[in-house]
Amino acid sequence: MSEGKKSPYIVPIGPTHPALKEPVMFTFEMDGEMIRDVDFAPGQTHRGIEWMGMRRNPVQIVHLTDRICGICGVSHTLAFSRAVEQITEIEVPERADYIRTIIAEFERIQSHLLWAGVAAHELGFDSLLHLTWRVREQSMDVIENLTGNRVNYGLVQVGGVRRDIVPEQHRIIEDCLSAYEGLLGKLLDLFLHDKTIAMRCRDVGLLSKEDALKLCTVGPTARASGVNVDLRQDYPYCAYGDLDVRAILPDQYAGETRGDVYDRIVVRLLEVGQSCGIIRQCLSEMPAGEITAEPKLAKLLAICKKARGEAIGRVEAPRGECFHYVLMEGKEAPASWKVKASSYSNLMSWIPMLRGEQIADIPIIVASIDPCLSCTDRVAVVRAASRSIYSKDDLHRLSVEKTRRLQQ
């Protein structure tokens, strides 16, 4: 026992834990209340989607990419479609570029509001969680109106989009935007002028600009550390090249950049307002015309089958750069496909953020990069001393059994 009591002692948190919203295994080396070192193991939810994609054709893969992430359905599908469109040399109609931009920005609004709620909850400020999640519903309703779904939108396809935005929908979108613009001041006030939030978030979970660059950080996490990156500004795709978007950095609001949790709140909340402006501009400037380059799927598939070449599709997802590499070699399925989600680039930044912090700040620091690790592929059950792994088959069978029992 004497060995075990000496510091540092090890605190494991994960793979699933009430304090974490995402499944990841942390191992903390603690010295009293202070974190001396930290290690993490992702992959608790790896589903082998790239492997599946290399056995399917691009028309099928867009449905797979819609389901990589429950939040970034548009980003992944858009990034993959843009890569395939470059290989097959399909020109996307301008109207489709604008519709893609509008839905991508709605995705950002709902994602950032969802995150803000989670952040409030991790700080123990649950009334603010309820407020942000209630107002988030309006953007979900608009997304449902535009695409037919709250998640897994199925809107973007190779060559364009599936659904047009008709004039009757403009009013619904406009109502939502003006509601958010009216609310934003209140949200900024509640989050940024609250004494408790400032005490919990200022100078907590620091990530220096140098570390952010060296650890390849992307999106709001990088911007909050003062790195001027935003694909919508630097590498404009879809309609962003027409719109003059500029990256939001914390010093624009607070006059300084500290790279702490507070700055990450600043960046995300301001981006909600920015997205409202982008959507409004897209709606007013949207050109008329077709919404897809090739409406016949069989023809589209024939084009994809003949295609040869490699391309990169990049999209600024709510959490940062979403990167797809596709290689086609004249076959139905891609010869290679690599999906780099935004959180892939951000996880390494946890280590410098968490080192030297207090144990009570783990949840908010972990949540501050807005991690997203997707759904489960297997479950390990530990009962007494024995450990058994339930496969997908077993789980499927168990769930069928349970449904049957309920039906009786």
């Binding site: 790896h46 028309v59 290679s336």
Partner: protein
């Protein structure tokens, strides 16, 4: 870090002049979208693995790059790794991607680590070790990343040869039928669809 933005052709010229024969090919592709059709440039540089670290160091001299990810392809007798970077971010409309491609013959799948130059790259290098069976020499952390601890040794999911995922490891969820010791469901059960004879992906929309 210099803030000077070079054109894609100038970037290509830097690598051509500095590395000569070790750079086997440079391609520049562009994509134009939206109403204004502003271009985005992608630079693809095929290099010998011996100059991987010097090439990354040269890129750092041009502009400290954002490292995105390493892609990998099983190209039959070799594994091709593609290191994706971006430079000139922060300058509106000027960012371009730079992708270094290295070929590793299958009898010698070793590649040097670039983590001494870009520490964040170790994450992607760990992934390539377990998914493609390449060996990253001097990697500071060589543990597995995504695959479960009980995943068999010597199986690499993205390989297309005998070291890829064997048939026995593939689970066809749609095959798991409902339990037999239960009362009959209200409607008759649907017939299982037949698997296509060859193991090619199922056809869609080709009829």
């Amino acid at each position: 870090m210099t803030e000077k933005v070079l054109t894609p052709e100038q970037v290509a010229q830097v690598f051509r002049e500095k590395f000569g024969g070790a750079v086997t090919d440079i391609r520049i592709t562009e994509r134009r979208e939206g109403a204004k059709k502003n271009p985005n440039f992608n630079i693809w540089i095929d290099i010998d693995r011996s100059i991987l670290n010097p090439a990354v160091a040269t890129l750092i001299e041009i502009h400290f790059p954002h490292f995105a990810v390493i892609s990998g392809v099983d190209a039959g007798d070799a594994v091709r790794l593609i290191y994706h970077f971006t430079v000139f971010y922060g300058n509106p409309g000027s960012e371009c991607t730079v992708s270094f491609s290295v070929n590793l013959p299958k009898d010698d799948l070793a590649v040097p680590t670039i983590s001494s130059l870009i520490p964040g790259a170790v994450f992607s290098e760990r992934e390539k070790q377990e998914f493609l069976g390449v060996r990253v020499t001097d990697i500071p952390d060589g543990r597995r990343l995504f695959l479960p601890e009980d995943f068999p040794e010597g199986v690499y999911p993205w390989r297309k040869d005998e070291t890829g995922i064997p048939e026995g490891m593939i689970k066809d969820l749609w095959r798991s039928r409902r339990p037999t010791d239960r009362p009959a469901p209200p409607a008759g059960e649907k017939e299982l669809c037949e698997l296509p004879a060859e193991d090619a992906p199922p056809k869609e929309g080709s009829s």
